[in-house]
């Protein structure tokens, strides 16, 4: 599963101050990727050394699964 790089700017936008919240870490220690957990699917931004999430955006409902009916607009 690919894990996207995260920039310092991304982290700042999430309210993360590296020196305060993750002393000794850099933006290179974080990745963005989808996970399945309590509550369903989330796109997380996670500190890889501690597994601490600094962002958990819900969705999509079925995660990476595309249904056979997806994309067919019945309206």
């Amino acid at each position: 599963m690919p894990r996207e790089d995260v920039s310092e700017e991304d982290l700042r936008a999430l309210g993360v101050e590296l020196a305060r919240d993750f002393p000794g870490s850099t933006a290179a220690d974080f990745r963005r990727y989808p996970v399945l957990s309590e509550g369903g699917w989330f796109t997380v931004v996670k500190h890889q050394k501690t597994l601490e999430s600094v962002a958990r955006e819900p969705g999509p409902l079925l995660g990476p699964i595309a249904l056979a009916s997806d994309g067919l607009d019945v309206n």
Binding site: M1, V35, E38, L51
Partner: protein, 643 residues
């Protein structure tokens, strides 16, 4: 730092949960009682064998949409359903639209990609209202004996896509204003077989949804909506905290393992492998399944939600077995899994039916990966495959019959633990079902269960012994067509842990009447090696000449004959894998080994070979006269220890 639930004072607790601690606890227990009561109602009134004799269903309570559908209670039943049902309710209701629901509704969904499990496992979901708003959902997920598709009853690893697999039902209204929606019923009944059985069972399911709703509303009338909703949160918080505490006690680290299944239903050229990399830091865990084999070409696939279930069941077994399971168990667990693997299949080509065959190895991979971290707490592997047998035919009077999960190798051994020897006759770790009674099988089917017994020396040896493999013979009195699905025969599933040995390999054979007619000869099939030479191998690692199990032999492929057509008096023999042992076999008390020889779990030769225990006497003719030769045992154990 999160405050432990136990450390909340009364005011903090009441503010968080809308009730005092005692009330929240009572309501949590009440919810577990309700789902169990719903299950009892279905079990006692079901007509279908798969419900009545197998307990192939589960009940849950979920919270409302604004709480994100937390699953606060699950029944003590089929574990394979419990991890999927929280997502199934959310995905079904979100797609249908909670705003479109009203009192008296039941919504159904059976799509494996939306709701997990397979198409026969329909989710029946009823919203529960109080003061005009949804406060809960009561759900029964129950296996319907048939859901159409190319295989009657469905259990086959040879179906190639969703079109062959069976009817897919997107979120659909089944009841409105407590009246059946005829078009929805007919959608099922015009596509499925055995509908005369399905109809009364669906009515029973509906009645038990009403029971669940009624019991919830009684609780709300007594304690109030806010206390009830608080108790839903409390239930999931308790299990989240319990799992988090258990995770924190595991050593931090990265743990990796592989597991797999033999092949799919096209040919035996592809072996399917699961790769898991578990990272554990403090109270958090991440399981990454990247690198797992692509989805299979036939219906041995599992869906993503089935994999989630297997992870949850594995961790409950290993580190948090004592607290009730809820959706909160996953709070500090993240699963990373790309789509399109054989444990995260996608439609239309990634057909999902025998999903437990692929997620059983997920569970075993977690067991393997964490074995060293767990030390003495490690748990041995089970028999790995349900070895489902699915058959049908016609009686002399033209009545069709079907059997599913009754006459194969569906029940077998578990692995040993620190606590003691393993049970030898249960269902796979993810199941938790009943064993269909022989009397029920023989009263309804033209089948005779000839033999059901444990096999000596099949258990994984250990300080604590794994469960013994089960051997089962079934005679079919009429012509029939059969689908057989043993999918874990190439390598032991019953892994030994903490120095224990792995269990033996299983296999499946067919004895055609022209090769060996047990009715005409009035003799059971024997169990000695020479009996297999005239058998037709169905699956397993076998010696090509003798057809006996041989780990270094040739692999006989389960779908080499996709459908086995048999004349009257054919016999299928299933031999399960053995369960894994725990601890060094040389540390097992010789008296316990002697008792195993007496009870025929172990032979005199096996005691010498595997345990270094020298037994004198004959277990058949004088079982109480067996003796341990202590001096010879001491010498033999020293010899084995030096190897």
């Amino acid at each position: 730092m999160t405050v432990s639930l136990k450390d909340l004072d009364d005011a903090q607790f009441a503010e968080r949960y809308g009730a005092d601690r005692f009330t929240a606890t009572v309501l949590s227990s009440r919810m577990r009682y309700i789902v169990q009561h719903m299950c009892t109602g279905l079990l006692n009134n079901a007509f279908s064998l798969i419900l009545r004799d197998w307990y192939d269903f589960a009940a849950t309570i979920s919270g409302p949409p604004e709480q994100n559908y937390p699953m606060s209670s699950v029944s003590n039943s089929l574990a394979m359903f419990l991890g999927t049902m929280s997502e199934a309710v959310r995905n079904t209701i979100e797609e249908y639209g909670p705003e479109n629901l009203r009192p008296g509704d039941v919504v159904i969904c059976n799509d494996p990609y939306r709701a997990g499990n397979h198409v026969n496992d329909i989710c029946f979901i009823r919203p529960v209202f109080a003061d005009g708003r949804i406060i809960s959902f009561v759900t029964l997920r129950a296996h319907q004996l048939d859901m159409g598709g190319v295989v009657p009853a469905g259990f086959s690893g040879t179906k190639r896509n969703v079109y062959e697999n069976g009817l897919v039902i997107a979120p659909t209204l089944l009841y409105r204003d407590d009246k059946p929606v005829k078009s929805a019923f007919n959608l099922i009944f015009d596509n499925a077989r055995y509908c005369a059985l399905l109809l009364p069972d669906i009515k029973t399911i509906y009645a038990n949804l009403l029971l669940g709703e009624q019991l919830i509303q009684e609780s709300v009338a007594r304690y109030g909506v806010e206390a009830y909703l608080g108790a839903i949160r409390y239930s999931t918080d308790v299990s989240a905290e319990a799992m988090s505490t258990a995770l924190a006690e595991l050593p931090d680290g990265v743990y990796e393992a592989e597991e797999g299944i033999d092949c799919d239903g096209i040919d035996d050229s592809v072996e399917y492998r699961i790769k898991v990399r578990i990272t554990k830091v403090g109270p958090r865990m991440e399981l990454d399944f990247s690198g797992t084999s692509p989805q299979a070409r036939t219906s041995i696939n599992a869906g993503i939600l089935d994999t989630k279930t297997a992870v949850g069941v594995a961790l409950k077994f290993l580190i948090d077995p004592a607290t009730p399971f809820t959706s909160g168990a996953y709070r500090d667990i993240d699963i990373v899994l790309p789509a399109g693997t054989f444990i995260s299949a996608t439609p239309p080509d990634g057909a999902v039916f025998l999903y437990w065959e692929s997620t059983g190895p997920v569970l075993l991979a977690v067991f393997r990966a964490l074995e060293k971290a767990l030390g003495r707490k490690a748990v041995g592997g089970d028999y790995g495959s349900l070895n489902i047998h699915n058959a049908n035919g016609v009686l002399e009077d033209g009545t069709p019959w079907v059997t599913t999960a009754q006459c194969g190798g569906e029940h077998g051994p578990w692995g040993a633990t620190e606590a003691g020897d393993a049970d030898s006759y249960s269902v796979v770790y993810q199941a938790n079902n009943l064993d269909p009674a022989t009397e029920a099988i023989e009263s309804e089917l033209p089948a005779v269960v000839l033999r059901k017994e444990y096999v000596p020396d099949s258990s994984g040896a250990g300080t604590n012994r794994g469960g013994a493999a089960v051997l089962k013979d079934t005679l079919y009195l009429t012509a029939a067509e059969h689908w057989s699905s043993p999918l874990h025969t190439k390598s032991p599933s019953g892994l030994g842990v903490y120095g224990g040995k792995s269990g033996a390999l299983g296999a499946t054979w067919l004895f055609h009447a022209e090769d060996r007619d047990v009715v005409r000869t009035r003799e059971l099939l024997g169990t000695s090696d020479e009996v297999y030479a005239r058998a037709t191998p169905v699956a397993g690692m076998l010696d090509p000449e003798t057809k006996c199990v041989d780990p270094d032999g040739e692999y006989f492929y389960f779908a080499s004959t996709p459908v086995w057509h048999t004349k009257p008096h054919a016999v299928f023999r299933y031999l399960t894998n053995g369960g894994g042992g725990w601890g060094n076999p040389l540390d097992r008390d010789p008296e316990r080994v002697k008792r195993d020889v007496r009870d025929e779990y172990v032979t005199v030769e096996g005691a010498y070979r595997d345990y270094g225990v020298v037994i004198t006497g004959d277990p058949r003719t004088d079982p109480e006269g067996l003796r341990v030769d202590e001096e010879a045992t001491r010498r033999r154990r020293a010899e084995l220890a030096a190897q």
